[in-house]
């Protein structure tokens, strides 16, 4: 069972009062409790079960502008006392940093908690196994699926309390139900794997098992017997599971920590055209039941909705208290990053997008870590499907795609097929003129 707010509050009080007694001027604390249960199935047979119970506390103490943190999973009072001692001792000898402080009290969250982020539904292990077996059954009904890499179902419930010495103390429960199916296809000596994944706060919102299995099978079969293509400049279509990655890159490039240090290609771009005028990007924390929704960030600051890009123009950064001070801006509640980040729909249908040029390369998977936030260089391994005259023709693999994000962002056209499946979501994306490295 996850611990209730009273238990979390008791732990928080022990640490806060002890750090005050030892001379800290300010302190903040996060106490968390979670329970997760995961089932793995492989080739329709139970492969493993895992149950985790996690407790944790993170305490940050301040002495004026000096700061130090400790974290522990051992919540016994004698251990907590020792750790607070250690935290205070370290804090005293840590140099001052003028930007260190608790967040602005006026920005503390206070309001209704009505976003529906917790589903108390509990599935027995049997139910979880049945769900995932049904998904694998469906995948195996495709005769080119010969094996699975394992499929799984997870249920996670957590509760937390965030408190600080300025009187903030709040927390809430969240839940997450996750299922994935990863299958292996084989034909004519070619072996490929692919997957489908679903994760929602409410059990009723996740994909039905048959859909999960059939989508995974379809992905894996479509990759079979790929060709390697010649190096060329070509326009790309990014499948929705990849196009959203450009939003994550964008988010890290406008984090106030990167902006303050100057380590991003989007420094000094506020109020400038970063994308073409068709593009709008929003970050909304108040969508009911959504994966990225939250009431406040990891400092207790209430989430406001941000229109980050409006008609291609950069409107705002993602700001926390510390880095906000460095750039003379107030926090906008993004100490824990973005919430539900998405591109607004474009005006073209998916079908119009794939017919927009005679020859296009549809990218379904990228591998590698080839994004350089500092200068915007982008180069990753990829696989996908060639589109000729609006028709999917043959799978392509062992290629690289490269460009610079400054150009890529200006050359994006979006379809109108946005769905809120993850916390970061994008419609299908067309990017003109990227360089493919192949033969």
């Amino acid at each position: 069972m996850i611990k209730d707010q009273d238990y979390l509050k008791k732990i928080a009080d022990i640490c806060l009062s002890k750090s005050k007694k030892l001379g800290s001027t300010d302190a903040s604390i996060l106490v968390q409790s979670s329970v997760s249960e995961n089932i793995n199935v492989r080739n329709k047979k139970l492969d493993g079960s895992e149950r985790s119970e996690n407790l944790g506390v993170v305490l940050t103490t301040y002495l004026g502008k000096k700061k130090s943190s400790i974290a522990s999973s051992n919540l016994k009072e004698n251990n907590l006392n020792e750790l607070v001692d250690r935290c205070i001792e370290t804090m005293k000898i840590t140099p001052e940093d003028e930007y260190n402080s608790l967040p602005d009290k006026d920005l503390h969250f206070s309001g209704l908690k009505d976003l529906d982020l917790y589903d108390e539904t509990h599935l027995s292990n049997e139910d979880k196994i049945n769900y995932i077996k049904e998904a694998e059954d469906e995948a195996f009904s495709n005769n080119k699926i010969v094996n699975t890499n394992g499929s799984g179902f997870g249920e996670n419930k957590s509760n937390f309390l965030l408190a600080n010495s300025n009187g903030f103390a709040d927390g809430y429960k969240t839940s997450q139900f996750t299922a994935y199916c990863e299958v292996v296809s084989k034909s004519n000596g070619s072996m490929e794997r692919d997957y489908e994944y679903t994760s929602k706060r409410f059990y009723n919102d996740i994909l039905k098992p048959k859909e999960l299995g059939s989508i995974a099978a379809d992905h894996a079969v479509k990759k079979l017997n790929p060709k390697k293509i010649k190096s060329e400049k070509i326009s790309l279509i990014f499948d929705k599971r990849i196009s959203k990655n450009f939003l994550s890159i964008f988010a890290s490039a406008i984090s106030s920590s990167a902006i303050a240090k100057g380590t991003t290609f989007l420094k000094d771009k506020l109020n400038q055209k970063v994308f073409n005028t068709e593009i709008n990007i929003n970050d909304r924390g108040d969508i009911k039941k959504a994966n990225g929704s939250r009431y406040f960030d990891s400092e207790g600051i209430g989430i406001i909705n941000l229109d980050l890009i409006k008609n291609g123009i950069l409107q705002d950064y993602l700001i926390d208290t510390y880095n906000g001070k460095k750039i003379n801006r107030k926090s906008n509640g993004r100490a824990s990053g973005t919430t539900n980040l998405y591109f607004e729909n474009g005006s073209k249908t998916f079908s119009e997008l794939i017919k927009s040029e005679k020859k296009l390369l549809y990218i379904k998977e990228t591998i590698g870590h080839g994004t350089n936030i500092i200068n915007g260089d982008y180069s990753v391994g990829a696989s996908g499907i060639m589109i000729e005259n609006g028709e999917f023709s043959y799978p392509v693999s062992e290629i690289t795609i490269a460009g610079n994000l400054n150009n890529i962002f200006q050359n994006i056209t979006l379809a109108d097929d946005l769905e809120f499946n993850y916390s970061t979501n994008s419609p299908t994306m067309h990017v003109e003129g990227m360089i493919v490295g192949g033969k």
């Binding site: 100057g262 590698g368 062992e398 690289t400 360089i435 192949g438």
Partner: protein, 470 residues
Amino acid sequence: MTSLLKNSELSLEKADKIVSETLNSCDDGELYVEDTKSETIVLDDNKIKSSNYTSDLGYGFRAVTGDTVAYSHSNEISEKSLKNSSDNLKSTLKNNSGTYNSEIKKTNQKLYKDIDPIESKSMKSKIELLNNMNEYARSKDGSVKQVTASLLAEKKNIEIIRSGGELLSDNRPLVRINMSVMVEKNGRKETGVYGIGGRQDYDEYLKNDNWKKVCDEAFRIANTNIESKPSPAGEMKVVLGPGWPAILIHEAVGHGLEGDFNRKKTSAFHDLVGKKVASKGVTIIDDGTIDNRRGSLNIDDEGTPTERTVLIEDGILKNFMQDRLNARLMNTKSTGNGRRESYKHVVMPRMRNTIMLGGTNTQEEMIKSVDKGIFAVSFGGGQVDITSGKFVFNCTEAYEIINGKVGAPIKGATLIGDGPSSLKEILMVGNDMMLDPGIGTCGKAGQGVPVGVGQPSLLINNMTVGGTQL
């Protein structure tokens, strides 16, 4: 031997009893108890940005029967909690029963000292070191605009309690010193990253002002990249430098030779034992027994002593890397590759220090033999798709080779290749085998574990380079 349970509400005798009673009807399993202390101090943007100390204590209780693994972990160490876990394991395995395999090799292996690297250097001197690194790096050149330096130290004590009361333990120190430098010149920004570390005290790595070399190297890489031109795209010859570029070996063949993927027949290598998978002269080992190395362990996380496992010998695939579960199901012995990130994670076959042994060629003759290609000296991360065998890695320092000579630096190139075929494309193996500086972390199924790599210079006949110049 002192037990990690000594300050808890759970006595070793009680734990033994629950473990034996739970595992008697299973094939394998253990109670794994872990007490980890770690400290991270980061200097960023001229300030000590954070000093974090973490103390983590918990257990993971595992029962294995057939190919089914039941796992339950918690950080409440009490009889009640362990009994709950036991019930949970039993309910998963209710229909199965097995015969407990109590056989486990013993060792007196001592590859690193039982020290606490966090306490062996005072907080004051750590802060002073970071400040010195910052000042030194910034003083090198006016173009240095940003410096991030960090110190990470960890002391991980583990105990494995097996059915029948057998207790195995290991105390593992680990440190890492990291440096990242951003240089800005003529409107261009580039970074250089370098680090060192292993299973010794900080001071072992700081001798002879070694921290200056870390700063020098990070600055050199950033400064080289400032002059870089766009990378070519297409297939060409590649010369790899010695040491850290062996993450190519780690990605291209290492993961594909882990026992789980081969037992499940999802690896591109699963039916290739005894067959030629690499050029003649290529020998690759996975060695957990090198003193003080980041990937070394006295015993793995199941209690098996680590060893030097030959994976590929003179081009022929010899062995996979095994944990106990996969070894049993494949009728072989564990090679001491059973590892987990922490008590919160299940054991899997994982690499330790993966090394290609040296050959006879010189780097000079490799470069001389290339008309058009690239010379890759350092890399960021890599990734592999086990099933298709395709792998990538990103160059952080690379040069073009034209007519047998090293030319201008090139930026941001990604290399992509096919695991089972790329090792057959190796034309020359260098005589300059080198281990990496001790910074690698390998990710698999969401678990990160410290690893090492090593190799000599290599000439590869044909790889696809991903760049922007056609």
